[in-house]
Every structure is written in C-alpha cells, then in structure tokens.
C-alpha cells in the first residue's frame, strides 16, 4: 500500500470532470480531500491524499493526466526555515492535526510532516514568518 499527496490543477475545460469519483470507482483508490478550491469559470485546485497499490496509483494518475488535469506531487508541503525559527511554539496550538510540537527535552520545535494537511494555519501563526506552505 502506497500513500501519495498530490495537487490537481483544473482548467475551465475539465473543471466539471468527477475525478475523485472516478479514482475511487475505476482505480480502487482510497481518496482523502485535504483542500479544494474551485471557481467553475476559472478552474480549480484540489489537494488529495491517495492510498492504494503502486500500479493503481500510477494508472489513476495517468487517467487524470489524459483528461488534461495538471498533476504535482507534494513531496514536502510545509517548508520550515529552521534558521529563522526561534522555537517559541506559537504555531503549535493552531495546528488541527498535531504536526508541530516542542521536544520535551530540548524544547526545540519539531515537525511531523506525515500528519500535515496543508491547511496553512501555522503560516499565519508564525510571528517570525519561518513557515511557508506550497499550494
């Protein structure tokens, strides 16, 4: 079982395609919508977490590519500038999924990237502007 986070970019031509439905039904993928932003006349963006067999993920992404939807893989969605960070912890309590915490011994900030859903709360909470999110 593989897990991948992806960003799909839709154009006005393909914005109405039920991509999520087809990935689930035709490719047997586990799909979790992390973020979605659509304006039917302009297109849209969809951030998904996909889980399934390697082959099915590849075939599913091929299908999405064929209908003209842009695909970007999210390798590391939160960019944390450790040099700028002062390890205060202002970001910790506004994170809905517990990505951020202070180490119990060193009290330095640590990030569990696996849990991130790219919501961006930490970006606006950081007083030192040390966190960025790619979206």
């Amino acid at each position: 079982m593989l897990s991948k986070k992806v960003i799909f970019t839709f154009s006005p031509q393909n914005v109405e395609r039920p991509v999520t439905y087809q990935l689930i039904k035709d490719y047997n993928l586990w799909v979790n919508i992390l973020q979605a932003k659509f304006e039917p006349s302009l297109g849209g963006k969809l951030v998904l977490e996909l889980k399934g067999e390697d082959k099915q993920i590849k075939e599913g992404l091929n299908f999405v590519r064929k209908i003209g939807v842009g695909i970007e893989l999210l390798e590391q969605e939160v960019i944390w500038d450790e040099k700028k960070c002062i390890d205060c912890g202002a970001c910790i309590s506004i994170c809905p999924t517990g990505v951020l915490s202070l180490d119990k011994v060193t009290y330095k900030l640590k990030l569990d990237y696996e849990k991130c859903i790219v919501c961006g709360n930490c970006v606006e909470a950081c007083p030192l502007q040390a966190i960025k999110v790619i979206f």
Partner: protein, 386 residues
C-alpha cells in the same frame, strides 16, 4: 544561620575564576538534593533568561549632521516613521511603528533587526528649514557603522508574569497573544517560567536601577522600573501564589547586539513587535535568595483570561501553573485545550547558559543596584474626561 555574600566577594571570585554558577533551571535539582543551606554555601550566582515579544521597545539614534545641516522634523527609516522631536538629528524609533508602504509586514522592529545585521537602511527626512539648519529635505542611507549612536532603550520589558490568553467567543481573533481560536480552541502564554528573571527575584532584592544584564547579546543595564510597574502578590485560599506586574526599563548598545538574541516579529492582524532576549544574573547574597531562585514551574501560577471579551477588564477562567502549560495541554471548563508558548523556552535556556559562560570567562561582573524600585506603585487606567 543565614549565609551572607557580598557583591564584592562574588566579583572577586569571578575575577579569580573561582565563581560557582548555575542556571535557574539547573539549580532546581541541586536544591532538591542538597537543601537550601548547602546550596547557598556552594553556589554564588544563578542565571536567568527570557526571549519573548516585548512591544514597548525602541532605539535612540543619532545620525550625525549633513552639510548643509538639517533639523529633522519628520523622519522615515525604510518607510517606517521615527519620532524626530528631539534636537536636530536625534530620533527615537519605536518597535511597533508600521511601515507606510508595507503595513504590518515590516515595522520599527524590522528596522532594528536590519540595523543590527549591518544592512543599509534608507533614511528620508524633511524640515521647515531655519537659519542655522537651512536644509529642508534629505535622502540617504545609513548603517550601524555610519551613525554615531544606536542605543536600544526599552521602556517596558521582561514582564514578571503574564496571562494565559484564550477566546470563548465564536470568532477567531488576532491578538498580541497570537491567534486565538473560537470556543476555547487554543491557549497561549508568554513567560519562561522557572527561568524568567523577575520570577526568580520576585521581591526585587537584587534587581533594581543599575543592575547589569544580558540584553540582546550585549551587556546592558536596568535603568528604571518599567512603565506600568505594579508588582502584586496574589495568594488564594489553596496557597497558590501569583507574582505579577513587575517590569523593567532597560538600555544597551544596539551596535553590540546580535540577531541571535533580538528579532523582529509580526503577529498577524495585530502588528509588529520586537522579540528581546534578556538574561539577569541573580547573586546568592543569602539563603532567602536561594529560596527565590529555586522556584519551579509547578509553583508559578498565572491566570487564564478570556480575550474574546473586548474590554479592559477581562473575565478570568481560573488558574494554571507553568508545569501544566509546558506539557502542552490544559483543561478549561472540562475541555482539553492545546497550548502555545509565545516566548521561546529553548532560547531562554540558551541565554541563561550564555550569561553563565560570560561570567565564568570573567567578562561579566555583577552590579549591585544603586537604587531599589519604588514600592506601593499603582496601575492607573486612562479615564475619559470631557
């Protein structure tokens, strides 16, 4: 018997390399193991530290005179206005002043940080012109090396203790205590607790006017009690004691400071502030001082205050200690609430450690206060009189 130790004795030990010094965190297990009496005998100095947002901060600058000279009446540094109502080329730049072009993204604190890191700062000033100062405008660039003085002078720093901020309203609010989520969604606090300078000397026995301190990476001084100085000791029926309201006015040479220990910050929706690193050495002049510095996070209490209420007197939702806060979650009205510190404990620890090293290297001597802070001060509101 109370052991007494003078400042002169401590400084003599620093000079001869025999001083025994630990941080306010390291002293806790020592006192637990050896007791107050033995610890007092063995240890001369305990260092404290804090690194948090301190809005009441700013810098006094003197640029030198141009030719022809100008008496600056309005001045901007990187589009952030400074106060020019002092002589001709002296100004005071406040940390929270916002840029006229970039708004909350850049402000006085950022100019201060850029000055410390040696960056070029754009200066623009205007004047009506006089016979002795004929010039009416000037545009130039300055750096910390090109100007005469850059003196950090912060009227209110080092708050002894502060509230825990929460929000019971239905709306997300943007405050100087960070982003507070609706319906008790989170909490924030801003003190280094057992490492905090004024919580280790809550009676101001060794901290007063003239105390030499670590300020932003350089040596600075306490010059007065801070503005809004109003120390209180609040005891409740369960024996929980809250010390709060002490503040410090501090001064130091900005040119000697380092961005490792002083930084600009922006709280979204609130504005710009300066994160200041302060470390204060506490001389163990007697066993009473040892008792003070042995204070632990679990013995330091503070109040949970509802910032969702937009008036001066905000409701309290109970008390909590710093051990509970430091664990990352507290319970309020039966709800498990995640907590964010706004002041960096890791940095506070680093500052206490660095101050300890400087004293051990003989670079930092202890200064006895030349005058104690006033007692019985009041905290007055601003009344609207028509």
């Amino acid at each position: 018997m109370t052991i007494k130790r003078t400042y002169e004795e401590i400084n003599a030990k620093i000079k001869s390399g025999k001083v025994v010094i630990v941080t306010a965190e390291e002293i806790i297990p020592i006192v637990e193991e050896k007791g107050i009496k033995k610890a007092t005998e063995e240890i001369d100095v305990v260092t404290t530290g804090t690194f948090g947002p301190m809005c009441s901060s700013g810098v006094i600058l003197n640029f030198g005179h141009s030719d022809p000279p100008i008496r600056m009446q309005k001045i901007w540094l990187n589009d952030v206005e400074a106060y020019a109502g002092l002589a001709a080329v002296d100004v005071y730049l406040g940390a929270t002043q916002l840029s006229e072009r970039q708004g909350m993204e850049y402000g006085g604190a950022h100019v201060i940080e850029d000055l410390i890191s040696g960056k070029k700062i754009k200066l623009k000033a205007i004047s009506r012109g006089t016979d002795c100062y004929p010039r009416r405008e000037i545009e130039s660039y300055i750096t910390k090396k090109s100007i005469n003085q850059a003196i950090l002078f912060n009227p209110r720093n080092g708050y002894q203790n502060y509230n825990v901020a929460v929000n019971t309203s239905e709306r997300k609010i943007y405050t100087y205590m960070g982003i507070l989520l609706p319906d008790l969604g989170n909490a924030s606090y801003s003190t280094s607790g057992q490492l905090s300078p004024l919580l280790n000397d809550p009676e101001f026995t060794t901290i007063g006017i003239g105390t030499r301190i670590f300020l932003g990476g350089a040596q600075g001084y306490v010059v007065w009690e801070g503005t809004q100085f109003y120390p209180q000791v609040i005891k409740d029926e369960n024996g929980k004691t809250i010390h709060k309201g002490g503040t410090l006015a501090v001064i130091g040479d900005l040119k000697e400071m380092s961005t490792d220990y002083i930084r600009a910050a922006t709280f979204k929706g609130y504005g710009v502030t300066l994160v200041v690193g302060i470390g204060i050495p506490i001389p163990i002049i007697n066993s009473e001082m040892m008792k003070s510095v042995a204070v632990k996070d679990e013995d330091i209490w503070t109040e949970i205050i509802d910032y969702g209420f937009p008036h001066l007197k905000k409701p309290s939702l109970g008390k909590v200690n710093y051990r509970q806060l430091r664990q990352g979650n507290i319970t309020i009205r039966g709800k498990d609430v995640p907590v964010s510190p706004l002041s960096s404990y890791a940095k506070a620890r680093e500052i206490a450690e660095k101050l300890k090293e400087e004293i051990l290297r003989g670079k930092f001597l202890l200064q006895e206060p030349i005058q104690k802070f006033p007692q019985g001060s009041k905290f007055k509101p601003l009344l609207e009189i028509h």
